[in-house]
């Protein structure tokens, strides 16, 4: 850069600070970690095989109406990946049933009292039909095969395992199996359980 002999101190500071900041960010990428305020921009860097596990939620209203199975992102007014991160901490990493109930209670209260609209990566809250309120929920871990399951139908899965049921009003009852899944077996044969 020989066009001008001397650059100002401010110019050198800017160049050095930029190189240092971007260097740290690149090192974060190489180490695959995010130490705020630096960001590795490692979105979607993982591998998704033909079969994967996902989460589903089923909500029950106080009139006994079932909403779902659906993706769980509309449970909280947070970006979808943060909702998943919270659910993993509460329902997968922790065995505490009381904490799980607390999460469900807070989520349902939020859905009933503070509904929100779709915004960027925040999905719009579940809405109960007019005159009804959400009263309980079930959370499932499902397995899907992307070669066979219809991505537009969130009930179309290989299998669904109930992780937790929050049902203070007894709306779900004690039925051992839900009737809203459309499962396919490993060979692609469909079993409609409705």
């Amino acid at each position: 850069m020989g066009e001008r002999a001397r650059k100002s101190t401010g110019w050198w500071l800017l160049v050095t600070a930029t190189a240092a900041y971007l260097g740290i960010q690149l090192s974060q990428t190489i180490r695959n970690r995010n130490a705020w305020p630096f960001c590795s921009y490692n979105m979607f860097n993982y591998y998704i095989p033909d079969r994967a596990t996902q989460l589903r939620v089923v909500l029950m209203t106080d009139k006994g109406r079932v909403i779902g199975p659906a993706d769980p992102w509309p449970l909280l007014p947070l970006e979808f990946f943060r909702v998943i991160s919270f659910i993993i901490r509460v329902f997968i990493s922790s065995p505490d049933k009381v904490v799980r109930d607390r999460f469900c209670e807070a989520a349902i209260k939020g859905l009933n009292e503070r509904p929100w609209r779709d915004w960027d990566e925040v999905r719009a809250s579940f809405t109960a039909p007019p005159g009804e309120r959400f009263a309980g929920m079930e959370l499932y871990m499902v397995e899907v095969d992307f070669r066979m399951c219809d991505p537009g139908d969130r009930a179309h899965v290989l299998k669904a395992d109930l992780i937790h049921r929050y049902d203070p009003g007894g709306w779900f009852g004690d039925a051992p199996e839900r009737s809203f899944w459309r499962t396919v077996d490993g060979a692609g044969e469909e079993r409609d359980e409705s």
């Binding site: 100002s8 110019w11 705020w36 630096f38 505490d96 503070r114 960027d120």
Partner: protein
């Protein structure tokens, strides 16, 4: 004259000479750098206000933090206060609005930077996995606060140099973000990432109806789209450095890239992709008209 209005010199005699000239074009001699900085300032201010206005309610975060801690998340060193979070939101919104409209008082700049930084820190503190993928807004705000970003004519060559350097810093941040994203896929998953399965799974889970329908198409199509995506990400920075006079095309390609991701995955990354326009595409001449509009708005607000 070349496209940027520079006198066209003779061919570089050596590779080193060519590199030196290109670095000077980027770091020292960006035409209309001050006007472009002002456009980036309006974009940064608007993006911060939009981002802060849509941040999660403090009530929800406080509630969730208590649940996460009950579920075993280690407690933070400092108490998380909902009122502080909401106060910071208001303070950031007010100071960012004043700064965007041209108020360069040191108190406004310091308040905007510190309140927004503290706010982002509080959001991240809620959950250990909550990184902030919007910290570029803090970086851009800081850069535009320490250099003169009002868009007025420079009174010295030092000011022109500083404006070019600040602009280059943001352009490089933008381009490096793509490099990081592409590298991350290659380093963590490897070439397997481009076999189409990851894109299919992501579109099937998160996608728009259009994206979900694409996820059922031939895997080779998805593999080609995956490879194109990684090539775009890895190629953006080298293409910017090598094809500097054509960077406006790169800016447009970035808009198209994020548009296609939005159409298929319902993810816009708007808070970063919105900078493609002021950093690479818009003519610096537009700045004058935007500044006049900002002045009118400010005058109107003062009279109200």
């Amino acid at each position: 004259m070349n496209r940027d209005g520079h006198p066209r010199g003779g061919p570089a005699r050596t590779a080193l000479g060519a590199v030196s000239r290109r670095l000077a074009d980027i770091w020292l001699n960006q035409p209309g750098a001050r006007a472009r900085l002002a456009l980036t300032r309006y974009t940064t201010g608007a993006a911060i206000m939009r981002h802060v206005a849509h941040m999660p309610p403090g009530k929800v975060l406080q509630e969730q933090l208590a649940i996460l801690e009950a579920a075993g998340q280690p407690r933070g060193s400092r108490r998380w206060e909902r009122t502080t979070y909401e106060a910071l939101r208001v303070l950031t919104l007010a100071s960012a609005a004043a700064w965007t409209l041209g108020n360069d008082h040191p108190a406004v700049r310091v308040t905007a930077n510190l309140s927004f930084l503290a706010l982002q820190r509080r959001l991240v503190a809620v959950h250990k996995d909550l990184y902030s993928y919007t910290s570029h807004l803090n970086v851009f705000l800081l850069l535009l606060s320490i250099v003169d970003s009002r868009g007025t004519a420079a009174t010295s060559s030092r000011q022109e140099e500083l404006a070019s350097a600040a602009l280059a810093a943001m352009q490089l941040y933008y381009a490096t973000m793509y490099l990081q994203s592409g590298l991350s896929k290659v380093l963590v998953t490897g070439p397997k990432w481009m076999d189409g399965r990851t894109l299919r799974g992501a579109m099937a889970e998160l996608g728009t109806p259009f994206g979900k329908s694409l996820s059922r198409r031939d895997l080779r199509l998805l593999a080609a789209a995956s490879a194109a995506s990684v090539a775009f990400e890895l190629g953006f920075l080298p293409a910017m450095l090598l094809g500097w006079p054509y960077r406006h095309l790169l800016g447009l390609s970035s808009v198209a890239f994020h548009g296609s991701v939005k159409a298929t995955m319902n993810i816009s990354f708007w808070h970063l992709s919105c900078f493609a326009i002021p950093l690479f595409v818009l003519s610096p001449d537009i700045e004058r008209r935007v500044r006049q509009t900002a002045r009118l708005v400010r005058r109107h607000l003062t009279h109200c």
